[in-house]
Symmetry: C2
């Protein structure tokens, strides 16, 4: 079963700007990471005047989502996204990695405190489709280090943030192979196969 880690990074490798937290989802300047998600400039207060994801961004995203049967995210991402208003926006069950598994949450989420257990439950729930790992960076690094990731989908936003949370922190060495590229004004999306023998 395929496991796909996917995340958006800046040109300098950050998945957030500085000071990311609930209500300031991707940190200072970090909203530029997700211009491709919203189809253009947007703000944390929700102001924008465009039609949402479009073009090659949508081609990339729709093809990815169509492959996915369940997902895993870290608690930090879940909280930063405000639990997506209480409803899981992704296909299938969403496993949330957290040490506070007893916290109340909507039925569309399953709280677990161990990546191995999250992968086991996500693979059971995926119905033969792929499992996605959506972040944060620590969850993706942990899964890569454990050899549990088959594909890495990196969306690179055309911005140098200068600070924030880095995707890679020096703990990993990996060889990967590019499979496909989509590009728009707001991102270059590259799907990579993870080559375990090169790690």
């Amino acid at each position: 079963m395929t496991t796909i880690a996917g995340i958006t990074v800046s040109l300098d490798g950050f998945i957030t700007g500085p000071d990311d937290r609930p209500g300031q989802g991707l940190g200072v300047g970090g909203e530029r990471l997700h211009y491709w998600v919203f189809g253009g400039p947007w703000t944390y207060s929700g102001e924008h005047d465009f039609g949402g994801m479009s073009g090659e961004d949508k081609v990339f995203y729709d093809a990815l989502v169509a492959r996915i049967g369940s997902g895993i995210v870290g608690r930090g991402m879940y909280d930063a996204a405000g639990a997506w208003g209480g409803h899981n926006p992704f296909p299938g069950t969403l496993l949330v990695l957290t040490h506070r598994t007893a916290d109340p949450h909507d039925d569309g989420f399953v709280f677990v405190d161990d990546l191995g257990e999250a992968l086991r439950l996500a693979r059971e729930a995926a119905g033969g489709k792929a499992v996605s790992i959506g972040g944060g960076a620590d969850v993706i690094r942990q899964a890569l280090a454990a050899g549990e990731v088959d594909e890495l989908c990196l969306s690179t936003a055309p911005v140098v943030l200068g600070a924030g949370k880095p995707l890679f922190d020096g703990s990993l060495r990996l060889d990967v192979e590019p499979l496909e590229v989509h590009r728009s004004r707001w991102a270059t999306h590259v799907r990579y196969a993870v080559l375990r023998e090169g790690a």
Copy 2:
């Protein structure tokens, strides 16, 4: 006159692996950054059994080189490349930024100790064509910070090196706009316009 900074980075943003030095050009594991230059795996001892740059890598590179009338590199890059055997392999004059301007060197190179002076001489020498800034990272960052770069060409190699010299070091914030993408097994090449108003 257009000034183009171009360099190859790993997925985690390094332009070399650790321990780069003369005879070990791009450091430990860093030869994978330039598989696209040589058309496949190569070693610092020069062993390979393939035909050199090809396909989309060559399309990207040839189009870039055709635009360039002169270039600038740092002394570190010049030394790491062994002065390219004493002959400048790039179009036109190559300005080398160095504090040791009196050191002996081939006529194809001009040694200067100031980026502003290098840019002035390179633009004079370019004959109306573009000036390239080829690295190292410090020269590119200095030129970006000074607002002297119009285009940033990043070739991203499909490898996570874990350590080395980073292209970005937290000193810069920039908005850029993707203009063109070429991709191969060994690199994803993206030409970005540098948007000064976003810096």
